[in-house]
Symmetry: C2
């Protein structure tokens, strides 16, 4: 009986997610057509966004938004939740496009990053001006367009949900900025790095989408348990991301491995290691980071195992929190299941 | 009697504009405080936006938004119009910050551009990584933040006004992209350049803000006359901008003069000149633009005088359109007055 209910919850979620996919697809297709009528070049920034969306990604934010909504008793036919969830995916697409410029990351989701593709096109065609400025310019505007479309799709949010949305999009920009500043200044402050990781990844990926879904359904009362679940799972998610970046293989991540280290990113994982190991800290304090030696030392300290145990704790906390949430049992089970899928996504 | 009415309309507009300024100031101050509590670095992107807003600018978009609202009979105490107008100024701030990266423009409103200031700081402090990537990264995120704040301030728009808002922000991104592409590819297509100019400047600066104000007041019936006025005046505004860029002095513009030419921007003015003068066209067709010779030829063709006459025609059309608008006489007079101020702002 539990199995049937579980399957039922997931089936509902997946059917709503299909509508989110369809909304993304039809919205972006209509925009591409509209602007290509002005000029054949007009669809390029829309296509940059579409290509990234089509290339996959985990759809983590729409999934938690939709699940928060359904768990909160939201109506499957509600068009507002479809727009909100589709909008979240475009917020994410815009953030990724800009992030890849900030990080000088050449690939994303197994394909060249937007700026990389347009720098190459500029070079190949011998266009005027500097190729880097052009390609990064196209990426800046494509990311801007993704954010604009996100706002349009989420335009009908009720006031409580709009507040959650505003928090989420503001935290991304502030979190990204602090990440950039801390890397440039080589700041080693574990508490600050933890805040940044929680802000720009955990809250944004799980906690806020879940609350957004609940708020669209009018269930602000779920905020305490959803927040506890989201915060714990968000941290686990970010730690897993850091582990994959530091030790994983790049085919699984769809992006170059070790990029955070190369970019001198003070990740949550590094902050942990620096707190626990004097040699890691002194390697980080050197004027030029030696990525090979840092990675070797991280492996030698057994930081991977420590973090794995911490992830287990966090997943336990997330599951405990959701077990207390006043929602149907099927949704508690579904959210507990999602916690494991997110925290152990490399298995 | 007409003078009294006119003064009354302007007084109302200016009092509402004061509330818009106060909303901008208090909103940004609260955000700076909030994020500086997380870390002293946290207020930097907020401060980048605030500094640009404080540095002046014409507040053209809020002014037309507020005037459209009052002309449409909107209530002076309505908080939604204050948020909408303040939001427009932040849309503009975000667009300018990104635009200056795209154009490699070093100064804005008489001060260093956001990226310029942060590139210099990175260099001076000897921080890690590439100074350009850091400074442009701060500008990308500060521009993103401005757009996020714009959406928050305009979060309570009624549906008809939201549609105008969505059009406006989408057109900016598409218009900016086409501008970039056309410059890189050295496209000489006067009709396309005209569309880009209308889209990214005219509509965005005057037409859409005016319609937005009317829509907040619930007067969608004003769209035909407001659109005719806004389109004509928007084109006049852009032509004036091009004239100042090509021939004006940089203190008046607050930015480097001739920058469009240096960046190979196919402005409305250049497109005009290329249509009317074979020598301008062949100069533009050369592999490397010779800005000095192009500017000299533009002066020799008397393009300035031709454009001045066209601006006169456009202002006449704007005034005719507004004379037919079903709004109080005082507002027709005020909008006619604003048309002259915008079109002849260098006098």
């Amino acid at each position: 009986m539990l199995d049937t209910a579980l399957t039922g919850a997931r089936r509902l979620r997946l059917s709503l997610m299909e509508r989110v996919e369809e909304r993304l697809r039809s919205f972006l297709a209509a925009e591409a057509t509209r602007w290509s009528r002005v000029d054949h070049r007009g669809e390029a920034p829309v296509e940059a966004v579409s290509a990234l969306v089509r290339a996959g990604g985990k759809r983590l934010r729409p999934a938690f938004c939709v699940t928060g909504f359904l768990a909160a008793g939201g109506d499957l036919g509600d068009p507002v939740i479809v727009g909100a969830a589709a909008g979240l995916e475009l917020v994410h697409a815009g953030a990724l496009i800009h992030d890849d410029v900030l990080d000088a990351a050449d690939s994303r989701r197994g394909a060249p990053a937007v700026h990389t593709r347009h720098i190459a096109e500029h070079r190949a065609r011998g266009w005027r001006g500097e190729s880097r400025r052009y390609g990064e310019g196209v990426a800046i505007l494509s990311g801007d367009l993704a954010s604009v479309y996100a706002g349009e799709l989420a335009g009908d949010l009720p006031p409580a949900a709009r507040r959650v949305w505003n928090e989420l999009v503001t935290e991304i920009a502030i979190g990204q900025y602090l990440d950039l500043a801390v890397a440039a200044e080589s700041v080693i402050e574990p508490e600050l790095s933890r805040w940044i990781a929680v802000c720009k990844s955990g809250r944004y990926s799980i906690h806020r989408p879940l609350l957004l879904g609940a708020a669209v359904a009018g269930r602000d009362d779920l905020a305490p348990e959803f927040a506890e679940y989201g915060e714990a799972l968000g941290e686990a998610f970010q730690l897993r991301d850091d582990l994959i970046d530091a030790f994983g293989d790049s085919r699984a991540a769809g992006k170059p491995v070790g990029n955070d280290l190369d970019q001198h990113k003070m990740t949550l994982l590094l902050a942990w290691a620096a707190q626990r190991d004097e040699q890691v800290r002194s390697l980080l304090d050197e004027p030029e980071w030696d990525t090979v030696r840092i990675r070797a030392r991280l492996a030698a300290t057994g930081i991977g195992d420590q973090v794995e145990r911490h992830i287990d704790d966090l997943v336990g906390r997330a599951r405990d929190a959701i077990a207390r949430a006043p929602v149907e049992a099927a949704w508690r089970t579904e959210l507990a299941e999602m916690a494991s899928e997110v925290a152990y996504r490399d298995r």
